[in-house]
Assembly symmetry: C2
Homo-oligomer: 110 residues x 2
Amino acid sequence: MNGNEDFMCLNAVREALKVIDGKWAFPVIGQLYYGSQRFNGLRRSLGGISIKSLTIVLRHLEELQVVRRQIFPTVPVTVEYSLTEKGREYRAVLMQMRRWGEKWTIDSGK
Amino acid sequence: MNGNEDFMCLNAVREALKVIDGKWAFPVIGQLYYGSQRFNGLRRSLGGISIKSLTIVLRHLEELQVVRRQIFPTVPVTVEYSLTEKGREYRAVLMQMRRWGEKWTIDSGK
């Protein structure tokens, strides 16, 4: 076992874990796969999320460069949230989770 | 988009997310990939984890049937923790996280 490689692996996985930290990160990312959305649109799609929670999770995902916040100079200004390439590629992680989850929960419930 | 399929997907991903909830679940699973371990061995490998935290995370993973707790009738009894098949197959999720993490953090640091 290579200690340095192990360390890199730990760091890489930790970086991926940061993205889905908290209750709302995954549902927000899931919604943004359908396309860019405005704050209130996201709130509606995620029925039940508070303004505060959505603000926090969007900032968190912006800091990780998973979500992009774009401001359009309309009157009043339009703010849209979308996934960056880094965010879109995170889909591979979620798909792998889905595969595992479907195998080990839905099957075992039969 | 199929609402029912979406719902199953959400549930499957949520099930996978439960596994790595908390600070210590990933390091514990990572250690157990090397083979079964006793409580104190795990504690040593994970330097810095408290008895309470390790107890909690092991119970959490046992409840999810990701970790198996086996008692051997030695004197005094030996208790060993190992990954179940469900736990071993979780590796695919962690490997996908690693791939994503390595692409998006180590590369971007160059």
